[in-house]
Symmetry: C2
């Protein structure tokens, strides 16, 4: 920095002003400084900057090593948004064991200014601890208690409701809902399946429809047998709603082998799914697309607002999944209306 200052014949602080836009500087001096910087290939030292300013300008996205879902769109949007505000987003991979303490350390050690949490559970110890430590954070997902908490989440309630409504409009009356069974995993307590189920049951009953719920673990065996389970336990189902990507794929693949035509006999839709998944099946899967991009951007922005806004009210946002037309949904096949059909 001193070298830059010398070369531009200014003081070291002027260089700082230019680099940080912290004080007005005459265009000419600014130019000289900028030129010196690029000629010397100067880059300000992250550590020194963080030390002196007490800000790292880093947002840490805690990146669960559970391989649970595809987060690319989300990460990309969050990183972009962060950058637009002068922050950098890094993904900080953490195993599930000692997560809680490590997360607060990140902030207390000054590595990050704020933390983004995903795969949030109903009652999430990480959230409690971050709150206690008064560490700035935002959630992708929702805990049970949301008082004063910054978050963005998918509106699973609305999405589920819409999915049922859309199918009902096509004449479907007998539904099956397929969910991830995460009990006995570190993700038990992961809220989305619960929210979807609750909404599903409510809507089904409000509309006087029939609905069965299937919980499917992530073991391969279980996934490949959903099809048979549904055919056995809910044989009149004409519409399957799956919030379990692998199961959705598996269903579209397996049902035809059981003599069921998709979508003529049974319609299948996936909930809160990455678009990329849709097209590996034949016919392509109809989905309600997870708004990864919007979630990521909003999450970053909410966190930054917290970081910079002086005690602003909590930023909270729910985003609905929009339908992506595939080929696995059709009107319900007309039921055998008369029991004594010829």
């Amino acid at each position: 920095m001193q070298q830059v200052a010398d070369r531009a014949s200014v003081s070291i602080s002027t260089v700082s002003f230019v680099v940080n836009n912290t004080k007005p500087v005459t265009p000419e001096t600014r130019d000289r400084v900028l030129r010196a910087i690029s000629e010397l290939g100067y880059r300000r030292n992250t550590a020194a900057r963080a030390l002196a300013s007490r800000k790292s300008r880093i947002l840490a996205l805690i990146y669960p090593l559970l391989d649970h879902r595809n987060h690319h769109a989300f990460v990309e949007a969050a990183a972009t948004a962060a950058e637009e505000h002068g922050y950098n987003l890094v993904l900080w991979p953490l195993h599930s064991d000692n997560v809680t303490t490590e997360i607060t350390s990140l902030i207390q050690a000054g590595f990050a200014d704020g933390v983004l949490l995903m795969e949030v559970q109903f009652d999430d110890e990480r959230v409690t601890r971050l709150h206690e430590a008064e560490a700035p954070f935002a959630l992708i997902g929702r805990t049970r208690d949301l008082d004063g908490i910054d978050y963005v989440d998918i509106d699973f309630e609305r999405t589920t409701e819409t999915a049922v409504a859309d199918l009902a409009e096509l004449g479907h009356r007998d539904f099956s809902l397929v969910l991830e069974d995460l009990s006995d995993t570190p993700l038990a307590g992961y809220a989305p399946p619960f929210r979807a189920e609750e909404t599903f049951r409510r809507v089904i009953s409000e509309r006087g429809l029939k609905g069965a719920v299937f919980r499917v673990p992530h073991r391969a065996r279980a996934i490949s047998s959903v099809a048979d389970e549904i055919l056995r336990d809910a044989p009149n189902t004409t519409a399957i709603i799956a919030m379990h990507d692998e199961a959705a794929l598996s269903l579209v693949n397996a049902l035809p082998h059981r003599g069921i035509a998709i979508p003529q006999d049974i319609s299948v839709v996936a909930l809160a799914t990455a678009t990329t998944l849709a097209d590996v099946t034949d016919p392509p899967l109809s989905t309600y697309v997870a708004p990864g991009h919007e979630l990521g951007r909003k999450a970053a922005e909410i966190l930054i607002a917290r970081l910079e806004g002086r005690g602003a009210p909590a930023g909270q946002a729910l985003i609905t999944c929009l339908p992506h037309k595939g080929g696995t949904v059709a009107p319900a096949r007309a039921p055998a209306t008369s029991p004594t059909a010829p």
Copy 2:
């Protein structure tokens, strides 16, 4: 730190010695210090540490925002290995435009001590620049010129060769290879498809077999029509080797709709694939599993060796994909031996 020192009645430097294990300390004083630390909840400041020691202890894994593949196993292993050596791995998401300069900045700004690069291309500008800047880095993947370069990579040559050999042993004589077509994408020049194709052609010709190559873009339309293309252009194929996950899935799903039984009529195997993919098809996909875990660990270790070893020779490693038995491979159906069969 001063508070800790006071509380333990030692000097600030003793605290440092304890915390860093840099000098011998009497067990008693060490205990006092440790106790003071935990009582006060002290954490050393990342920035100050980095500033004073000129080391950030951060390895940045440049994380391509291209959503090209599933890197979880890799990331997890690399993070674990790094931690074992006292480093932290962060994923640094970068768009493909200005990557090159940003990567060297990371090091020049002292944010990271070293960089891990993935999705490496044959001729990769990032590598050139990092080399010029004398920034420590290691590749997951290989450039064309590997002189003095640290890398780990999948041994695509050997894996492809094995795949053909295994199928040939089952009596298959007529092969199709399905590859990702990445031309016109930022990943054109991504080496794996080329390596696989070259090996495939060589082995096919050495063994006097028949082989056709299909290049499939990532557009949904293209993927879902591979099946038809193969049936049209290579109608006698009995074994399909796919280094394109989506295409592999799609094939297993689509071929039965065309009257082809898998694996009785045609065998399908996927190359360099995450295990998780295997079980969404029916029957489950047979694969040669990408050694994500080994790659991640080795990559981190090689980079750390470079960081700490004084001018050690380049660390280079190739790892072969091992077969994962699924249900999509079977002996070749006996050919209609006599042209005049009854």
